[in-house]
Amino acid sequence: MIALEQIAGDLAERANAAGATAADVIVREADEFSTTLRMGKIENLKEAASKALGLRVLLGIRSASSFSSDFSEQSLGRLVERTVAMAKVTSEDPASGLPEQSQLGCYAGDLELFSSDVESLSTADRIQLARRAEEAALGADPRIQNSEGAGFEASQGTVAYANSLGFAGSYRSSYCGLSVSPIAQQDGGMQRDYWYSVARRAAGLETPEAVGRKAAQRALRKLGARKVSTCQVPVVFDPETARSLLGHIFEAVRGDAIYRSASFLTGKLHQKIANENVTILDDGLRSGGFGSRPFDGEGIASSITQVIEKGALQNYLLNCYTARKLGLQTTGNASRGIAGPPGVGPKNFYMPAGPSSPEEILHSVVNGFYVTELIGFGVNTVTGDYSRGAAGMWIDRGELAYPVEEVTIAGNLAEMLNHIEVVGSDLEFRSVLAAPTLLITGLTVAGT
């Protein structure tokens, strides 16, 4: 770990020696494992280790960046030279630059991002987990005779960041995931669905049997799906599809969309933009969270940001650049891949659980659509216009009546936020985005 911080710090210093007025460096090292099985036989087995670094240099208020997986002395020398030369031809941008020294910091507590039980799980055990998940799915019902396969993946790695202001930090993290995609068949029709479990600790995974059975149920309930007539009805989003809405809201509150007026939430800070029962937080400190980290991609200590509080937009999500553009303070949302300057990324961006169980929500709907799957990209962050392919179950007098496919749901995100009528109690963290079941009115379902 310290070795990576050293590499990052040395390279930043080297850039300064080559003429940069400031520089920062990110270094990533990771071990990756994945396997897929299908019908009980191993399909793929993959394992590798990799590392890469990214450099950003500043010449006053000009900047450029570069990346490489070649850490040799000669290669790094060339990298610094070329990056400094590139910075000379970019524009002067008063908003560019590293954070202020006083802003730099690192969360001191343990975020439980790393667990050694992932690494210590043997290859045979990993394969066995995927095998058990697929067996559970295939054994769930005679209508499941085929499968697209089951997979297990694991990774652990280290991220180090250093800049020419003297900040250097690093952290380790681990990850593992189990998934299975069974195929259900009936009367010549075929449906596929999947289920999965992900965790930072191997001990945190759901049992393969639970994952397999859930995947089977999801595929089976799609059998015999049909189109419905075009109509406007209440739509219930399950947590998986509700999470995708959180993704669209994140795209609309990120600072780079705001300063470019490329979001329907531009200019809406401190205004009411959603129903009163809507609160959204971006929490960088959640124990074991997939978006947790001690500091962001610019060396800003992680924190919790209130994004929407009881329907009012309280904060945009910002890195240093977008904060300067908007005359605000960074919220520690600098995301940093290997290539390019810092972007804006979510921490753990989520909607806290509400009062109603998912069953209560479904029972409250007389005639509506329970959406369990969304496909396509028909979301426009600039206007908020929303139109996506959907599948799920029809709700008739509070009960799930029959499966539905080949329909779209459409509306506008600004209106949808105001029409989140009920927030479910079933919040689970399965990625950097999370939301419970939601009931939204005013959407158009297009079918026949």
């Binding site: 793929n44 085929n146 449906q191 596929r192 028909g378 509306g411």
Partner: protein, 484 residues
């Protein structure tokens, strides 16, 4: 011609005997076949935003991926360090997919020259001065802003790369390729009062900077992005429900990519999980439809001299006059299905296992005049530009999202409508094609396809076509009230 073999041998100390040794190590546990995929990719990108060159980035990604096939199983390892001991380690990891004594003891190699060069770029963009590329993005910025005073934001990106590839297989074949790729993108925002709308356009391919002139000039793409945003300012609610749909030529070919292309990839079919499984020889489209996948079109974004398994690309007929003829094959699937490879084994990088993927997928031109096709529609949707799409290959349901569309009323193109997703059923949508235009056009060269987490550049194309019934996912329930 660039000597890619020399490039790897001189820079990274590779030798023929070294390659043989790595392949032998890969087969040391009894695998049937092994290959090495050496890749060195230089990437460069520029972002112009708010009339400022905000970022310039360049980088190198290189490594070697080693694959071992044992029956239907694949073992894979990769390394980003080309030191011999690291490659050998990756080879031994990949080898473990098999378990038994080696049945190949030595691998002799011979280099196979490519029969074609579909992208003979004399001076790749990645090797040109940054200032030349900056000139292109500045021209786009100026042109977009000059198009209309309501254009308030312009973002222009220019990205290019050169990929050197050397593939060595345990069948003794060594194949190399030099793959340039270039892309200019323009994104605009128009504002009129409180109304905001966006537009996007762009172009590129396996081409050099000389491509960006005439109908591919920065001014052309910038004008398109600006025009789209301005048109959208006046857009009405899109209709909701089934109706007749006319697709314009070019980009709308994404229909083929989603509706049939993915479903015809051989991996899904050998597993029996595609809506097209077992349907070769059957009618899946109206007899007006012939659909091909063609990796050999010079300079196109989806073209390749050889696929990422070293197999020459080709033009593959998928649907001929409405009858399903074949699948897109990689080495593994062709072996299992006992068919021939079609040069569609592709991968995102050395870190990834190859699988069947599309190259450039398009429908051949028909005989109808596009104007007649529009005139034949009483009421419907005319969609001319699209964003992304997606498909569930098992039930065949697919979507693609229109970013520029108009109502058709009494045979005439009427008011523009807001973007909307169209949804249909892959195995039946083409049976409803009732007219095919004589105006085949390929997309401008900015498409990227994702599958199992791997992205690869692709192309699509289509002439103007009419689909008698497709569900349009707008918000407007009123059948005729959306345009008065």
């Amino acid at each position: 011609m660039v000597n890619v073999k020399r490039f790897f041998f001189d820079r990274y100390g590779l030798t023929e005997s070294g390659l043989s040794r790595y392949l032998e190590a890969a087969l040391s546990e009894g695998g049937d076949y092994a290959d090495l995929y050496f890749e060195h990719t230089t990437t460069s990108s520029i972002l112009l935003d708010e009339s400022l060159v905000k970022s310039a980035t360049e980088g190198i990604s290189m490594g070697c991926g080693i694959r071992v096939l044992a029956g239907e199983q694949t073992g894979y390892g990769y390394t980003d360090d080309l030191a011999p001991e690291r490659i050998l380690k990756a080879a031994r990891i990949a080898a473990r997919i098999a378990s038994g004594p080696a049945h190949v003891s030595s691998v002799g190699l011979s280099t196979i020259a490519n029969t074609h060069d579909f992208y003979p770029v004399a001076s790749p963009a990645t090797e040109r001065e940054l200032s030349e590329k900056l000139e292109l993005v500045w021209r786009a910025d100026r042109a977009a802003r000059a198009h209309d005073s309501r254009i308030k934001q312009v973002r222009v990106t220019f990205g290019d790369q050169i990929r050197h590839v050397l593939i060595a297989g345990s069948d003794g074949r060594v194949v190399t390729d030099f793959q340039p790729l270039t892309r200019l993108g323009v994104f605009t925002i128009a504002q009129d009062g409180s109304k905001l709308q966006s537009g996007t356009s762009g172009g590129g391919g396996r081409v050099g900077l000389e491509f960006f002139q005439g109908e591919h000039s920065p001014e052309h793409f910038a004008g398109e992005a600006a025009r789209q945003a301005i048109v959208q300012l006046e857009a009405l609610e899109a209709p909701a429900g089934e109706m007749e749909v006319v697709l314009g030529p070019g980009w709308p070919g994404i229909l083929l990519h989603e509706a049939v292309g993915h479903g015809l990839e051989a991996d899904f079919n050998r597993k029996g999980i595609s809506a097209f499984s077992g349907r070769i020889g059957q009618r899946v489209a109206s007899e007006l439809c012939t659909v091909v996948d063609d990796g050999t079109i010079p300079g196109r974004r989806g073209s390749l001299n050889v696929d990422d398994e070293g197999e020459p690309t080709q033009k593959t007929v998928l649907i001929e006059n409405g009858i399903l003829r074949g699948y897109l094959e990689d080495k593994l699937s062709a072996g299992i299905l006992k068919t021939t490879r079609t040069g569609n084994g592709r991968r995102e990088s050395y870190e990834h296992i190859p699988m069947p993927r599309m190259t450039n997928t398009y429908m051949l031109a028909g005989t109808d005049d596009p104007a007649d096709i529009l005139r034949s529609v009483k009421r419907g949707l005319y969609a001319v530009s699209f964003g992304g799409g997606q498909v569930d290959i098992t039930n065949g349901k697919f979507v693609f999202s229109a970013s520029e569309a108009y109502m058709i009323e009494d045979g005439k193109v009427a008011a523009p409508v807001k973007g909307a997703t169209l949804i249909g059923d892959g195995p039946t949508v083409l049976t409803r094609v009732t007219a095919v235009g004589n105006d085949l056009k390929l997309d401008p060269g900015i498409g990227t396809c994702g599958k199992d987490g791997q992205s690869v550049p692709v192309g699509v194309g289509i002439p103007t076509i009419k689909v008698s019934r497709l569900t349009v996912g707008g918000t407007s329930l009123g059948r005729l009230q959306s345009f008065q």
